[in-house]
C-alpha cells in the first residue's frame, strides 16, 4: 500500500508548479480572465509540452498511458493557481469519451487533443445541474454517424470556442446515456457564451436538430469517465483549499488588530484549526479514493463520498478564509474570493454535496 506520489509524479508536479509560479501568478490569471481570450493558448501549449494533454491516453493513441494519480498529482497545482483552461472538459471528459470509442473520427480527434491542436468541450449539465449521468434527460434521435440532437446543455466549459463538443445524451427515449460528437459550426448549434464566477469561459449551448456522431460507450464507461473527472476536479478543489489555508494562516499572522496579530485571537485561531482539519480530511479522502480508483476498486459510493466531502469542506474553507480576511477578503482584487468561487463551482457541478451525501445515505 502506497499513498505517496512516485518520484516521477513528484517531478511532474515540480515542473508544472514551477511553470505556473512563473507564468500563471494571480495577476496574470486575472488579466487573462478579463481579456477576450477564453483561455491562454500559451499555457495550453505548455501543458502539451509537459505531456499533460497526452497523459490519460494510451500509448497506441499517442498518449502517455498515465494513471489517475498522475492527473491528481498536477491537478492540485491547477487548483492552487486557479487555472481556467478547459483541461477537465477537453482531456478528462471529451478526450476520454472519444478515446474509448471505435470510430475513426473519434481517434482523429484524440490525436488533435493530444497534440494541443484542438480543444473539445464536454456538454453534460442540464437545467439547475445534473448530478449524475442517470439524470441526463436530453435524448438523441437516430444513431451511428447520423444521430441528431435537440435540447439545451448548460455550463459547457469552452462551449463557444471549442473545435467540437462531446455531448452526453440518452440513446433514444428511455435509453442509456451515451456520448455524441458535434463539430463546431454545425447547423442548429447555438452557444451563448459567458464567464463563470470562477473565471472560466463557458456557454449554454442549444441544439436544434444538430447532426452528431454517436460514440461507442458502455454505461460503465460513461460512469467511469465521470468518476475520473470528479476525482481530478476534487484534486483541483483540494489544491485551492490548501492555498487558502496557507494564505489565511499567513494573513492572520501578519494582520494586526488591537495591537496584536489576529491569529492570537482564539476565535481566529480555532477557525484556522478548522480550516486545516477540513483540508486534511478532504486531502486524505482525495488520496485514498485516487489509490482505490487506481486499483480499479473505487465504487460509486467512494466517489460520492469524495465529491460530497470536498464540496462541503471546500465551501467551509472558502467561507472561513473570507471571514478571516475581513473586508479585503470581499474584494475582487485579492485572490481569496476567487478561490472561494472556484470551490463553489466545484461543489455545484456534477451534483453538490447535499446530493452526494444523500446518495451515500441511500446505501
Amino acid at each position: 500500500m502506497d499513498f505517496s506520489f512516485t518520484d516521477e509524479q513528484q517531478m511532474l508536479r515540480d515542473g508544472v508548479g514551477k511553470f505556473l509560479e512563473k507564468s500563471y501568478d494571480f495577476d496574470a490569471r486575472q488579466k487573462l480572465v478579463n481579456s477576450d481570450a477564453p483561455w491562454s493558448a500559451d499555457a495550453w501549449q505548455q501543458f502539451a509540452e509537459f505531456g499533460l494533454l497526452a497523459l490519460p491516453f494510451s500509448e497506441e493513441q499517442g498518449g502517455l498511458g498515465g494513471s489517475i494519480s498522475d492527473c491528481v498529482a498536477f491537478a492540485e497545482l491547477f487548483g492552487r493557481h486557479l487555472v481556467i483552461e478547459p483541461y477537465l472538459g477537453s482531456v478528462m471528459l471529451a478526450g476520454s469519451a472519444l478515446a474509448q470509442s471505435d470510430p475513426a473520427t473519434a481517434q482523429e480527434w484524440v490525436e488533435k487533443i493530444v497534440s494541443g491542436e484542438a480543444v473539445v468541450a464536454f456538454a453534460f449539465e442540464e437545467g439547475h445541474g445534473t448530478a449524475s449521468p442517470e439524470l441526463v434527460a436530453m435524448t438523441a434521435q437516430g444513431g451511428g454517424d447520423s444521430a441528431c440532437l435537440t435540447g439545451e446543455k448548460r455550463l459547457v466549459h469552452g462551449g463557444a470556442d471549442a473545435d467540437a463538443i462531446v455531448v452526453l445524451a440518452r440513446k433514444g427515449e428511455g435509453g442509456p446515456p451515451a456520448f455524441y460528437l458535434v463539430e463546431a459550426g454545425a447547423d442548429g448549434l447555438d452557444a451563448r457564451a459567458y464567464t463563470t464566477i470562477d473565471g472560466r469561459s463557458a456557454a449554454n449551448v442549444s441544439f436544434n436538430d444538430v447532426a452528431a456522431t454517436e460514440l461507442e460507450a458502455s454505461e460503465e464507461a460513461v460512469e467511469k469517465i465521470i468518476a475520473d473527472a470528479i476525482i481530478v476536479q476534487s484534486a483541483e478543489a483540494v489544491g485551492a483549499m490548501g492555498a487558502l489555508v496557507a494564505m489565511t494562516g499567513e494573513y492572520a499572522h501578519t494582520r494586526k488588530q488591537f495591537g496584536v496579530p489576529i491569529a492570537t485571537f482564539q476565535a481566529v485561531a480555532h477557525r484556522l484549526a478548522d480550516m486545516k482539519i477540513a483540508y486534511t480530511k478532504a486531502r486524505a479522502t482525495l488520496i485514498y479514493t485516487t489509490a482505490l480508483a487506481e486499483s480499479g476498486a473505487a465504487t460509486p459510493r467512494d466517489i460520492a463520498i469524495l465529491k460530497g466531502q470536498v464540496g462541503k469542506l471546500g465551501r467551509a474553507v472558502g467561507e472561513a478564509a473570507i471571514q478571516t480576511h475581513g473586508g479585503v477578503g470581499m474584494t475582487d482584487e485579492l485572490s481569496v474570493s476567487h478561490y472561494h468561487k472556484r470551490l463553489l463551482a466545484c461543489d455545484t457541478t456534477f451534483g453538490d454535496h447535499a446530493y452526494h451525501f444523500r446518495k451515500v445515505g441511500m446505501g
Binding site: E125, G326, G327, M330
Partner: protein
C-alpha cells in the same frame, strides 16, 4: 400578555399594499428584484425614497415631530412585510438609519435644521467614514487625523469600506484629534457638508460579486469647518457608540426581508425538478431545511417585535449585538439555500443582465440571476458594522452569571 389585532390593521395593510402596487415605477420595481445586497441600486433607490417621502412614509422609525409616522409596532411590521412582498428596494441606511437618528438624539438645533429635511426628502445622501485600512474590528485605533486650524480642521489620512461614497454628497466620519490617553479618547465625530472638498479622492473598490459598492476615500490636507463636529472634540467615540446602537439595533426589522428570501426560494423550488423526483419544493430534505430556516427567522421576528413593543429584551445591553449577529447569519443561511435551488444556473457571472434597465436576458430565471450575487455579497454581513467576532465578545461580557 396579549396581542390586539385591531380590525383597522387589515385596512392599513390594504392601504399599504395598494400604494406599493401603484406608486413605484417599473425601474424601481426592477431595482427591488435585482437588489443583491443590503444596499439597493442607488439611482432607483433614491427615486423610490423621494416617492415615499411625498407619501410621508419614508421614516416610520423617526419620531413624529421629525417626520416619522407614529405607527404602532403592528403597523410597522405590516409595512415592512408588504414592502418586502412587493420586492421593493430597501432604503439606504446611512442617512435615514444612522446620521438622521443620531442628529435627532444629540445634534445641535442648527444641525437638525440643516440636515434632517434634506435626508427625509432624499436630496442628501451621506457616506459613513469609519473603518481604515489598519482599523477594522479595532475601530478605535483609527489614525485619519484632523488638526484644528482656526475654525477648521485639516484632515489627512484615508477611510475604507465607505459604502456608496461615489454616490454620496455628504459624509460623516471619525477622525483622530488627539493621541493622548486611551485610543478611544482623542476621536472626534465630524459631519462633512461636501464629499468633494479639495484634497478628497474617492476610489471605488470592486467586490467579489463584481460590483463597486465600497470605496476608499483619501484625504490630503482637506480643510473642513469645525462647525460640523457632533459632540465635543475628542468625545467622538461615545457619539459613534450612540450611532452604532441605531446601526446594530436596527430602526427597521430585518425578518420580513429574510422571510421574503424564503418565499422566493420556495417559488423557485416549485419550478425546479429534484434529482430525487418531483420538484425541489416537494422534497423532504428541502422542506426540512427551509423549515428550520423559517423557524429561525420567525424567532428573529419575535425578538424584533418584542423589542419594538418596549419589552425588557430591548434593554439588555447585548441587544444590538445579538440583533446584528442573528440577522447577519440568517442572511447568509438564506442566501446559501437560494444558491442551492439555483444550482449550476447560479455559476454564470451576469453583471450586465443584473444592471437595472439592462436589455440582456438573464441566462436562467431572474431568481438564478440574483441568488449567487446575493450569496457572495452577504459574506460581508458578518464582517461589517462590527464583525460577528467582536459582537460575540460584547455579548459574552453581559453573561456574568451573577
Amino acid at each position: 400578555m396579549k396581542i390586539e389585532f385591531a380590525p383597522e390593521l387589515e385596512a392599513f395593510r390594504a392601504e399599504v399594499a395598494e400604494f406599493f402596487a401603484t406608486a413605484p415605477t417599473p425601474a424601481i420595481r426592477e431595482a427591488g428584484r435585482k437588489t443583491t445586497s443590503v444596499f439597493a441600486p442607488f439611482k432607483e433607490c433614491m427615486e423610490w425614497h423621494r416617492i415615499l417621502y411625498e407619501k410621508g412614509w419614508v421614516a416610520p422609525h423617526w419620531p413624529v415631530e421629525y417626520g416619522g409616522t407614529g405607527w404602532s409596532v403592528e403597523q410597522r411590521f405590516i409595512f415592512a412585510e408588504e414592502y418586502r412582498k412587493a420586492d421593493l428596494p430597501p432604503l439606504l441606511p446611512q442617512s435615514l438609519g444612522m446620521v438622521g437618528p443620531l442628529l435627532i438624539d444629540i445634534g445641535t438645533e442648527e444641525q437638525k435644521a440643516k440636515y434632517l429635511e434634506p435626508i427625509l426628502k432624499g436630496e442628501d445622501f451621506w457616506a459613513q467614514g469609519y473603518s481604515e485600512p489598519n482599523s477594522g474590528s479595532d475601530l478605535a485605533s483609527l489614525s485619519c487625523r484632523a488638526e484644528p486650524d482656526g475654525d477648521d480642521y485639516i484632515i489627512n489620512g484615508s477611510k475604507i469600506w465607505t459604502t456608496y461614497a461615489h454616490h454620496a454628497n455628504r459624509m460623516f466620519m471619525l477622525v483622530r484629534t488627539s493621541n493622548e490617553g486611551k485610543k478611544q479618547q482623542g476621536i472626534t465625530f465630524l459631519l462633512l457638508d461636501r464629499i468633494d472638498y479639495p484634497g478628497m479622492e474617492i476610489r471605488p473598490i470592486v467586490g467579489l460579486d463584481g460590483f463597486p459598492e465600497q470605496c476608499e476615500v483619501f484625504f490630503e490636507d482637506v480643510r473642513v469647518p469645525q462647525s460640523g463636529r457632533v459632540g465635543e472634540e475628542n468625545d467622538g467615540w461615545s457619539v459613534a457608540k450612540h450611532l452604532l446602537k441605531h446601526e446594530r439595533g436596527g430602526g427597521n426589522a430585518a425578518s420580513p426581508t429574510l422571510m421574503r428570501y424564503c418565499e422566493r426560494a420556495r417559488a423557485a423550488a416549485e419550478k425546479t425538478p429534484s434529482p430525487f423526483g418531483g420538484t425541489v419544493a416537494d422534497d423532504a430534505v428541502f422542506q426540512r431545511e427551509i423549515g428550520e430556516l423559517e423557524a429561525d427567522i420567525a424567532s428573529l421576528g419575535h425578538f424584533e417585535k418584542l423589542a419594538i413593543s418596549g419589552h425588557e429584551i430591548a434593554r439588555d445591553p447585548a441587544f444590538p449585538s445579538m440583533n446584528k449577529t442573528i440577522n447577519s447569519e440568517l442572511v447568509q443561511r438564506a442566501s446559501v439555500l437560494m444558491t442551492q435551488v439555483s444550482g449550476v444556473d447560479g455559476l454564470a457571472r451576469q453583471l450586465e443582465a443584473l444592471r437595472v434597465g439592462s436589455n440582456v436576458e438573464p441566462l436562467g430565471s431572474e431568481f438564478d440571476l440574483v441568488s449567487m450575487p446575493l450569496y457572495l455579497n452577504s459574506r460581508a454581513t458578518t464582517i461589517y458594522a462590527g464583525s460577528n467576532e467582536v459582537q460575540r465578545d460584547l455579548i459574552a461580557r453581559t453573561v456574568s452569571g451573577s
